[in-house]
């Protein structure tokens, strides 16, 4: 009895903790439920880049991230999948045309020469640029659509203004062979550039023009100014020759690396293609989640009613255990950061089915033992004991299927496998611990210790 009481307390604490988790951490909903666009971008090999390795995919990812930032979508996600694909999630985007156009092209990196006498304007515009970037970040965090839109328009104007301060491009991305961060020795980092032969000549010319004038080299990625170094006067005679250069400027390792990756991404002529687009309008997502949730919820209530009607007191206990199960499982999803998608919800509802099955197995066993003339306590005891191997087998086989799905499946399939698998694991715990504790607590109370509450039409011979 003492053991039961402490288990009861543990269960109660777990439930309260789960409710607190559920209230405080909102559930992460997939794009199919909240609306938005999910794009899969396929990297293609080209003559210059015959294989896609990690360096290449990281470089392209940084270019894509750069472009996604320019779209002004809050909570966007850019991640690599497999060896040569990049997944972009844009919550809340109803028409992805713009995003597809922006994300679909090969990166455009170029080096431009600043026009004479524009230093003050450049200073002013770059300050505006920084300010706008900050505002955009702020607006995204607040989720203020109007502010985002307004800021994006200003960003565009600012970009055009900056571009107007430079001559047309002289040196293009394909002239740049490589870019990487290198330490200078005293905690500062530089970015080293290597050009092709042709690019080296162009770069020498460009730097010769600019050396000592205070005018800058504008490095543009997809028409956005990402760096604007000046050239020291020492190079006024010949320009920077030899096909390599360093950008200095007290960069931290991270800053230097970010810039190098961006430059590499712009230099690589990797054609990208959008091979998958899944877009769900926001209202449509909301409607479908509501309908499916109502339907699934309604079905579950029917299950709860059925359990009480058919199994009496144990049915009621099972219902309590099922509700505990649902709360615990949802809290675990929440804590693990599981993104809930429609197939994920289906997986969850199925795992509830499994949890019900465990209870059904136990109670059928209990009834059999009662009919065989055993005492109530013994019957309940052996009901749990004997149903265990069936429950274990059933759950393990489902678990095997889930592992295969999660391991080999793609997007939607993974979500389903994850929720079903986690659900099955939790249901083993609740069916065996929670139902059991509640059941033994119940038969510990004299007023509930009546076999007829457990099995209708039982012969009176049993005490």
């Amino acid at each position: 009895m003492r053991k039961q009481r402490s288990l009861l307390i543990v269960i109660l604490v777990l439930v309260i903790a789960s409710v607190i988790v559920l209230i405080n951490i909102p559930m992460r909903l997939g794009l199919d439920l909240r609306g938005g666009s999910q794009l899969t971008i396929q990297l293609q090999t080209s003559e210059e880049v015959p294989t896609i390795d990690e360096r290449v995919i990281n470089a392209v990812q940084s270019v894509i991230e750069n472009r996604v930032n320019g779209l002004g979508v809050s909570e966007s996600v850019v991640q690599t999948i497999g060896q040569d694909q990049i997944l972009v999630q844009l919550p809340g985007v109803n028409d992805p045309e713009q995003a597809e156009r922006v994300l679909g092209g090969t990166a455009q990196l170029d080096f431009r020469e600043q026009l004479p006498g524009t230093n003050d304007q450049l200073l002013a515009e770059t300050q505006v640029k920084q300010q706008l970037e900050f505002q955009l970040e702020q607006a995204k965090q607040d989720g203020d659509e109007a502010a985002i839109e307004k800021t994006l328009a200003s960003v565009e104007g600012n970009q055009q203004a900056i571009a107007g301060l430079y001559q047309p491009p002289i040196l293009r991305g394909q002239d740049l062979r490589d870019a990487f961060a290198e330490p200078t020795g005293n905690d500062n980092w530089n970015i080293a550039l290597r050009f092709s032969n042709q690019g080296g000549d162009k770069f020498a010319q460009l730097t010769k023009n600019l050396a000592g004038t205070g005018r800058t080299i504008g490095i543009f990625l997809d028409d956005e100014l990402i760096s604007y170094p000046t050239v020291p006067v020492d190079f006024a005679e010949t320009g920077i020759t030899g096909g390599s250069a360093v950008i200095t400027g007290r960069f931290t390792a991270e800053q230097a690396n970010d810039l190098a990756v961006q430059l590499r991404g712009g230099a690589l002529p990797v054609p990208v293609e959008i091979v998958e687009n899944r877009t769900v309008g926001a209202t449509l997502g909301r409607d479908s989640i509501q309908r499916s949730l109502y339907a699934g919820g309604g079905g579950l209530i029917l299950v709860l009613i059925f359990m009480v009607v058919y199994y009496r007191l144990p049915g009621l206990i099972a219902d309590v255990a099922l509700i505990v199960y649902a709360i615990l499982t949802l809290a675990i999803f929440d804590l693990l950061g599981v993104t809930l998608t429609l197939p994920g919800i289906a997986g969850f509802i199925l795992s509830i089915g499994m949890a019900v099955d465990a209870n059904v197995l136990i109670f059928e066993r209990t009834r059999e033992e009662l009919r065989a003339g055993k005492t109530l306590y013994r019957s309940v005891e052996s009901g749990f004991f004997r149903a265990f191997s069936s429950i274990l087998d059933g759950n393990l086989t489902t678990g095997i299927a889930c592992i295969a799905l999660f391991w080999l499946g793609t997007g939607l399939v993974k979500g389903f496998a994850l929720t079903l698998g986690l659900g099955v694991a939790v249901s083993m715990f609740t069916a065996l611990t929670c139902s059991r504790t509640l059941m033994f607590t119940a038969i510990g109370l004299p007023e509930l210790r009546k076999p007829e509450l457990f099995c209708p039409n039982l012969k009176k011979a049993v005490s």
Partner: protein
């Protein structure tokens, strides 16, 4: 109220045979049909393509006058050179049959082609609500990847489950559990092949998900009965196998029915009232679960009895976890 599965086993086998045969015929017909070309009608997940679902925006005045006309949509598509696309009209409110939603499945379109199509549809039919638009585009290569990874998952879980059953029971148990499992997969695939022929229902990644779940549940059902067979044999080693199987099936019958019923309740609700996306997932699961509990009660058990009966010398399986233990304390 005890009933004997063994006595009428030829009836049970015939019923299953008829279902599977019907499914196979449907698959053969689908395969020869040029517009399908596969045993089941593949969705765009597997072969690539674009699906556009557009809903008229009724907040715009005079926009929702009457249902969308199929012919108008067809004409727009023909003008775009997409005459071979399939078109479906759907209802915003299933009770009113208002036909305010159009769903179009075409070959894989890029963003320019898609925008053009959307614009000309809008011109011909009315303003669409971007908040209710659904777009799915899958490139053909990616489609094949999704299909292959799904099949791999299916095969790996088959192998894993057989291994587990061989280890937990015996090899012939595992074989017949497997037969039952294939039975369920074939029945479900057959039903969807027929639906594909009759109603144009397509199978997508979610269908693979359904098949995998059915595998899990089907094996679960079969294992429960096998567990009981093993227990009955351990308790009563001299009982003839036919009797053992009959007893085991009867003892677990209430559980089999109740479990199937409780799992089906939410699924039926989702199928009838749930969102469009989950409808066919729910249907596939329903078919599979019904087939699954049928096959474990009527097929896996009778096959095992038939097999063991033919080989009276086969060793009696010994229970792994000795259920006798509790009995002795009485």
């Amino acid at each position: 109220m005890k009933f004997s599965v063994i006595k009428q086993r030829s009836l049970w086998w015939t019923i299953s045979g008829v279902f599977i045969l019907a499914g196979l015929v449907a698959m053969a017909i689908s395969w020869t049909r040029p517009d399908i070309g596969a045993p089941l009608r593949p969705g765009l997940d597997f072969v690539g393509g674009t699906r556009l679902q557009l809903e008229l925006d009724c907040s715009v005045p005079d926009n929702c006058q009457g249902p969308i006309e199929l012919d108008e949509v067809r004409e727009v598509l023909a003008n775009q050179g997409l005459g071979n696309s399939s078109i479906q009209l759907l209802d915003k409110d299933p009770l009113q049959q208002d036909r305010q939603i159009v769903s179009i499945r075409t070959q894989s379109l890029d963003v320019e082609e898609r925008t053009q199509l959307q614009d000309s549809l809008s011109e011909a039919i009315g303003v669409f609500d971007p908040e209710s638009t659904q777009i799915d585009t899958v490139g053909p290569t990616l489609g094949r990847q999704i299909f292959i990874s799904g099949l791999k998952a299916l095969l790996v879980s088959f192998a894993g489950i057989t291994l587990y059953l061989t280890f937990r029971f015996q090899f012939d148990y595992a074989v017949f559990a497997f037969v039952a499992l294939f039975h369920d997969i074939f029945v479900t695939a057959g039903v969807f092949s027929i639906l594909g022929l009759v109603l144009g229902v397509e199978v997508d990644s979610l269908f693979l998900v359904a098949l995998l779940t059915i595998i899990g549940f089907s094996v679960n059902d079969t294992v429960v009965i096998y567990d009981r067979i093993r227990e009955v044999i351990a308790k009563n080693p001299t009982l003839p196998i036919n009797q053992v199987v009959d007893d085991a099936v009867n003892q677990t019958l209430a559980r089999s029915i109740n479990t199937t019923l409780t799992t089906m309740l939410p699924l039926v609700c989702i199928f009838l009232f749930g969102g469009e996306t989950l409808k066919y997932l729910a249907l596939a699961l329903l078919v599979g679960f019904i087939a699954g509990s049928y096959s474990s009660i009527f097929i896996a058990s009778t096959l095992l009895a038939w097999w063991r009966h033919r080989q009276p010398s086969s060793p009696v399986p010994v229970s792994v976890d000795n259920p006798q233990a509790i009995e002795d304390q009485q």
